[in-house]
């Protein structure tokens, strides 16, 4: 490293300094600086806060407010305050309870199954085989199908007269699976599971990758068989991912709408009338905002309770990496 002349620091040459330091103006007071930082932060957060305020928090509060009012039979008439009676009436109504049941069943059908299948595929695809990348892409491919795409595909395949699946299931010409009160919810669940398979696979694969290989090798050297390895190494290491998948999966399944709308429109006989769809139905088909509002809040609270309970119950079982 040769050191050359241009570096020597002459004494106080006038225009040398980079405009800082010695000749700087009096330093800004700390208060003023903090004020500017505050304003900057405010400006940066403002757009998000405005949108949240208008489209998230205000609606939430308004729905609570609306649930106290009976919607008049004819538009234009003022709403009629009834306090808690509407809430009580809706929550105990047969329709609501049915929707609640359907929703819970739907969650039960789709979340655990989707998780297990995703895990299974992830485990199978986690090996070092030639061409494994192809299989991984195939297994994650359904993430590219939107709810509408999947629903339209299956709707057509399940067409009672001419659908391919109807033919295979031997039900051609008869009642479509989707119109059969015994099978409709299961069918919709199956479509949902298929559509979510890609997502589930991706999440489980990512979780599997986080399982350190040396831990597995050590356990293998300690003589652990496949099942023991699964139980003592893989599952604990996977638990944060499983936890995440359960919580997020439940939230998503409580929100399911598109597939219901396209496949069954809530029928047959309300057998697939999940809460979201029932709310939609109340507003657009029955013009009853008040009842819809009650159900909306109910849905929100159910989601909240589910999430909190799951977090409370499950998080303690999760072993995080040190």
């Amino acid at each position: 490293m040769s050191v050359t002349h241009p570096f020597e620091r002459p004494d106080r040459l006038p225009d040398e300094s980079i405009g800082a330091g010695r000749k700087a103006p009096a330093p800004r007071s700390r208060r003023r600086r903090r004020m500017m930082e505050l304003m900057l932060a405010f400006g940066l957060l403002l757009p998000s806060l405005v949108i949240f305020g208008v489209f998230v928090f205000y609606p939430l509060i308004r729905q609570i407010y609306l649930s106290f009012f009976l919607t008049p039979p004819f538009p234009g008439e003022p709403k009629h305050y009834v306090g808690f009676s509407q809430i009580q009436q809706v929550l105990s109504s047969h329709d609501f309870l049915n929707s609640l049941g359907v929703t819970l069943l739907f969650v039960l059908y789709t979340v655990p199954t989707g998780l297990i299948l995703g895990l299974l595929l992830a485990v199978l695809a986690h090996q070092q085989l030639a061409g494994i990348r192809f299989f991984r892409t195939v297994f994650s491919s359904t993430v590219a199908t939107s709810v509408a795409v999947a629903s339209v595909i299956f709707f057509t395949l399940l067409n009672p007269q001419v659908g391919l699946f109807s033919y295979w299931f031997g039900t051609q010409g008869q009642l479509s699976v989707l119109d059969d009160p015994r099978w409709a919810l299961l069918a919709v669940s199956a479509v949902t599971i298929w559509q979510n398979l890609g997502l589930s696979f991706i999440i489980m694969s990512a979780g599997l990758q986080a399982v350190p290989d040396d831990l597995l090798e050590a356990s293998r050297m300690d003589g652990a068989r496949v099942w023991a390895r699964m139980r003592h190494v893989i599952l604990p290491m996977l638990s944060p991912t499983l936890f995440f998948a359960i919580v997020v999966g439940t939230i998503l399944s409580l929100e399911a709408f598109g597939q219901i709308d396209i496949l069954t429109a809530g029928g047959p006989l309300q057998h697939t009338n999940v809460l979201v769809y029932a709310i939609y139905d109340q507003v657009f088909n029955q013009d009853n905002d008040g009842r819809a509002a009650v159900m909306t809040i109910a849905l929100f609270l159910i989601t909240l309770v589910f999430t909190l309970v799951q977090i409370w119950l499950l998080e303690r079982r999760v072993t995080y990496e040190r």
Binding site: L44, L121, S141, A144, A293
Partner: protein
């Protein structure tokens, strides 16, 4: 309903071709598992071979099952309407008919639908990125009162799904005159708590030395963001962008209620209308479905890594 009887009865009514397939699939799966089990004994060389075959068998069967609906969709989109419903089913298009695609595009308005979807999705993604970067910057690098409370507030918005707010949002949008406009389709989604969360994590991960060096180098906020923070956080930005794209492109409920004619409909809703309007022209319906699915598939292939990142943010480490 008696489960066993139900199963037996169902099996009996299955179409013969399908029944055969089921037996084959079952056989393959059993063979695969059997081979894997058998691979425990025997010489190492033999075991490896056998296990390998077993594994591939399982993978292939499952891949076929998963891929089949997509496969048949593509195939049927290239057949003539009467071929689609032919029994026994045609599983490969020997003379592909591309006309269904042009029908879907023009008569089925898929072109317009896709355009709308692209416009709406792009605006939403751009907006989400902008607001999330701004919020994450504030949370990660600035000090101000109530910072933690505000962050919790941001996170709380993730707990309030659209299904809860859509009613009021609809009347808000109507009263703003945004019904059936791009504004109505995009503005409610221009900010998300998830984005702020993801990017804040990424920004906080910036090495502290880099921040200090930038401070000493007299980098102002904008310079710091542009030249130091964003380049380093690029993976998270990409993840958020891809995730937001998938999310916005696949939206269903909101576009359904905020649009009223084909001028504004997005492709997801368009599909529903296509299915209703084309009735028995199944090939056109399938063609429309393929068209609607292509953008996401392309993105999946190009950006799989980033998508995985976005989807699993928070999943692995908790």
């Amino acid at each position: 309903m008696n489960a066993e009887a139900g199963v037996v009865a169902t099996l009996g009514t299955l179409a013969p071709g399908f029944r055969t397939f089921l037996w084959i699939a079952l056989a393959v799966i059993v063979a695969g598992i059997g081979l894997l089990v058998a691979s425990r004994r025997g010489s190492p060389h033999y075991r490896r071979r056998v296990a390998l075959v077993g594994r591939y068998l399982l993978l292939i069967v499952l891949a076929v099952i998963v891929l089949f609906p997509i496969y048949i969709t593509v195939v049927d989109s290239l057949l003539k309407p009467d071929q689609v419903v032919a029994k026994p089913p045609i599983l490969f298009p020997l003379h592909p008919q591309w006309s269904s695609y042009s029908t879907a595009w023009t008569q089925g308005h898929l072109g317009r639908y896709l355009l709308n979807s692209f416009i709406v999705t792009t605006v939403i993604v751009a907006g989400e990125l902008a607001t999330s970067i701004a919020a994450a910057y504030a949370f990660a690098f600035l000090e101000f009162p109530f910072r933690r409370t505000l962050f919790v507030l941001f996170l709380a918005t993730m707990m309030v799904p659209l299904e809860v707010t859509f009613l009021t949002n609809l009347s808000t949008v109507v009263s703003l005159g945004w019904y059936n406009t791009y504004l109505g389709l995009t503005v409610p989604f221009l900010a998300t708590g998830f984005g702020a969360f993801l990017l804040r994590q990424a920004f906080l991960g910036l090495p502290r030395d880099l921040r200090d060096a930038a401070k000493l180098d007299a980098a102002g906020h904008w310079q710091f963001l542009r030249r130091v923070v964003l380049p380093v956080a690029r993976p998270s930005l990409a993840a958020l962008g891809i995730f937001a794209f998938f999310s916005a492109f696949g939206q269903y409920l909101w576009p359904l209620i905020v649009t009223k004619n084909d001028r504004l409909r997005t492709v997801q809703i368009g599909l529903k209308f296509l299915a209703n309007s084309q009735l028995n022209n199944f090939n056109v319906i399938f063609a429309g479905t393929v068209l609607a699915a292509i953008p996401l598939f392309v993105l999946l292939i190009l950006f799989e890594k980033q998508l995985v990142r976005g989807l699993t943010a928070g999943a692995v480490k908790g």
